[in-house]
Amino acid sequence: MLPLNATITRIDEESPSVRTFFFDFQFETMKPGQFVMVWVRGVDEVPMGLSSKNSITVQKVGEATSKLFELKEGNSFGLRGPFGKGFSLPSEGEKTLVIAGGVGAAPLAPYAEAAKSAGSEVHTVLGARSADDLLFEKLFAKTGKIFISTDDGSKGTKGFVTDVLSSLDLSVYDKIAVCGPEIMMASVFRLLEDRKVLEKSEFSLHRYFKCGLGVCGACCIDKSGLRVCRDGPVFSGVQLLNSELGKYTRDASGRRVKI
């Protein structure tokens, strides 16, 4: 498929470095956790998790995202997708725990909503560097109970999401969905493994994508060789046992880069 032309209809300033760009059509079949390839014409094309059927939530980190931040309402960019595997939805009556760190809250916001609509009781642990960086706090609060952690203690528990998790009984949850910076996800992974609830968990990984179609192999993870863009980006905790999670990633040339 060639990129679709997405015209920006609204831009929400979520935090000093994060914006949500709404566009003029909906990915009706989108499953929370799936991603789109966002083509900033003349610059680059980068993967972004969908934060709703018609929006992407972007952190300004590199050349493409900086260029995206220069765009205004009425401007357009290219979009291909939705691609990859999303989070598994809970069944009615099941309990869901959402663990979101930083901009990792973006794909988990529509997931929390979908889980609630499916009749699940949803709890969210939302972490960020500071109170200003907390994403979609109101939205998560609408879906159920919310626990907050900030690195600097400006809101909620001072520390990391794992500090909140250590005081929760994780055995009551049927589904645990995690997305955030890799260091955070690796700590959560270890904690869930210790608490013997890994088989209930799913993690959304971020890797350098080239083709985004599952053909080139740039985003394959060790030791399974699974493709993040096609077999993921959402993997079960069990699939990530003995994996490179939290240890290293790869740059655009394929070289291993320590995390």
Partner: protein
């Protein structure tokens, strides 16, 4: 077991270069879960390269356009991946390499030898990398010199992957043969381009790229057919193979084995599917050996 330039393959399907070959683990997965009889790595060069900016691959009804730009970690960093593939894939592992001249090819081949690849495939055919690939592969003298340089450096089979973007592919194939190639691989992608009409921008980050998939199969069949006539050494067919029927057709044109690239998009176990399909076809038609198919169509007319 099937022998190709001395390599023992469990079936005549091989993963093509540049597909799922960035890491050792991925190559192992294609062999174990995909059922490939052999695997070719991503093309490795003398220096780390990040490749072209994205978009680097787009899908059409008829095939794919890509302009990856030879991203690779260079040979020192790739050794560990090759090691993993050699230890755990259970199939012959072929290292695809590229360079801008015979000395660079020699350097990369030498650099990868410690990992003991079962063969080398020389990429003189990537259509969108300045100074590499087809830029050197369109010149028969250079192709012969590059082939000879690698041949004198290694004592494993050397395959040369050819570009169809020349007026006569057999002339380049003959040059590879003169340089001592053990086989040629045909074809690499055809030059192509797509434009986003909403904005006027070329879709690929590199503006143009290479066409692969179903659309190129008739071109590949013709190239393989012509090379089979022109050369003594085996021809390995690649380009748009996505079913056992395509593989049989390629073999009848003269291919001693087939490589599969873009079709992994449909499913990873395409290799098993193709090799099973070939087996069933052989039984149905009363052939005793897959080798009987090679070049069959040349005997008909």
């Amino acid at each position: 077991m099937y022998t190709l330039t001395g390599l023992k393959l469990k079936n005549p399907t091989i993963l093509a270069a540049g597909i799922l070959g960035t890491t050792g683990a991925s190559l192992c997965r294609v062999a174990r879960e995909g059922g490939a009889g052999g695997v070719v790595s991503k093309s490795i060069g003398p220096m780390p390269k990040t490749g072209h900016p994205n978009p680097s691959m787009v899908k059409f009804e008829c095939g794919f356009l890509n302009a990856m730009g030879l991203p690779n970690p260079s040979y020192p960093s790739f050794l560990q991946e090759l090691d993993i593939a050699k230890k755990d894939s259970g199939v012959p592992v072929i290292a695809s390499i590229f360079g801008g001249n015979p000395a660079e090819f020699k350097e990369v081949a030498e650099g990868l030898l410690p990992a003991k690849p079962d063969a080398f495939e020389l990429n003189v055919s990537c259509p969108h990398a300045e100074g590499y690939g087809a830029a050197v592969g369109s010149n028969p003298c250079l192709v012969e010199a590059i082939t000879a340089a690698v041949k004198e450096t290694v004592n494993v089979p050397v395959w040369v992957k050819l570009t169809p973007n020349v007026s006569d592919i057999t002339c380049i194939g003959s040059a590879a043969e003169s340089g001592g190639a053990d086989a040629v691989v045909a074809i690499n992608t055809l030059k192509g381009m797509a434009i986003d009409i909403e904005s006027g921008y070329p879709v690929l980050g590199n503006r143009s790229g290479g066409l692969s998939g179903k659309a190129v199969k008739p071109v590949a069949v013709k190239c393989v057919y012509d090379l089979y006539t022109a050369l003594e050494i085996p021809v390995i067919g690649v380009g748009g193979v996505s079913s056992w029927q395509d593989a049989v057709e390629m073999m009848m044109a003269g291919a001693a084995a087939v490589q599969v690239g873009s079709a992994v998009y449909d499913r990873l176990d395409i290799f098993s599917e193709i090799s099973k399909g070939i087996e069933t076809f052989l039984q149905r038609k009363g052939y005793s050996d897959v080798k009987e198919l090679i070049g069959l169509s040349h005997e008909m007319v």
